[in-house]
Symmetry: C2
């Protein structure tokens, strides 16, 4: 049985889209649902695969369009690690990203770009900033330490 009233994320989606003069569509709902379900910073390609499993007719072009719409209306951020495909994150708090070279996962890091402000030279006005870190996450660091001590 489907609830009469929209779920909370759907209501939020509807309002945000409307505020940007955009329509609520099944595809945008699906793409957002994918991002909210597993917060692992998937690429557009990965979003496409996951969305397609629920909505077989959705196209890659639409996934790009939806991700763009969601980004525009402030529900999703693009994340740029490495040179490869952009990743997408539905966590809109001011945070940074850490890409683990061991497991490949992209972790949210509670490091606000606000913290960088005092380091800037006089007169510069920052409108947007991005911090990307690379290395070993706690789990992978522990494993690699264990492996090397075991020899």
């Amino acid at each position: 049985m489907k609830s009469e009233r929209a779920t909370l994320p759907d209501r939020e989606l509807n309002d945000r889209l409307a505020a940007s003069g955009l329509r609520f569509t099944a595809q945008r709902q699906q793409v957002l649902a994918v991002l909210l379900k597993r917060r692992d910073h998937p690429t557009a390609e990965e979003v496409f695969i996951r969305a397609k499993s629920q909505m077989p007719d959705i196209s890659m072009a639409t996934v790009y369009n939806c991700l763009d719409a969601l980004t525009q209306c402030g529900l999703v951020r693009q994340v740029h690690m490495d040179r490869g495909a952009a990743r997408y994150c539905p966590n809109m708090s001011d945070h940074s990203h850490f890409r683990c070279e061991g497991c490949g996962r992209v972790h949210d890091i509670d490091l606000a770009s606000e913290a960088l402000r005092p380091h800037l030279p006089r007169g510069f006005q920052v409108s947007h900033s991005e911090v990307s870190l690379h290395g070993l996450c706690a789990d992978c660091a522990r494993n690699s330490a264990a492996r090397s001590s075991a020899k």
Copy 2:
């Protein structure tokens, strides 16, 4: 009259290349010279154009190869701003980058990634980090303030 002994950057280049098992070549020398001459974070394309003006037979593939060799032997860093082409920087000190939306220039910012260390969650090991900032540089901010007050 050309000096008998190699210039300082050439000596350094020779040593660094040797240390990585790479040869000193005219193309690598030229590409490094381009980067040292104007430290404005050019893209590979821009490096190609500048190098070509001195060395008309150099190819784009070689510019990519040389930039790669210079990066490997620690004389140059790749800088990733936006989604576009990578930029190259011969300043190997721990610093960050600021892309001005007014004039398009990429400025070095004296913000060491070391400063981020204390913000990391326990157990994470950072091997590399990059901070990219966007906004208005001091000059452009001043101009835009002047323009808006003049109405």
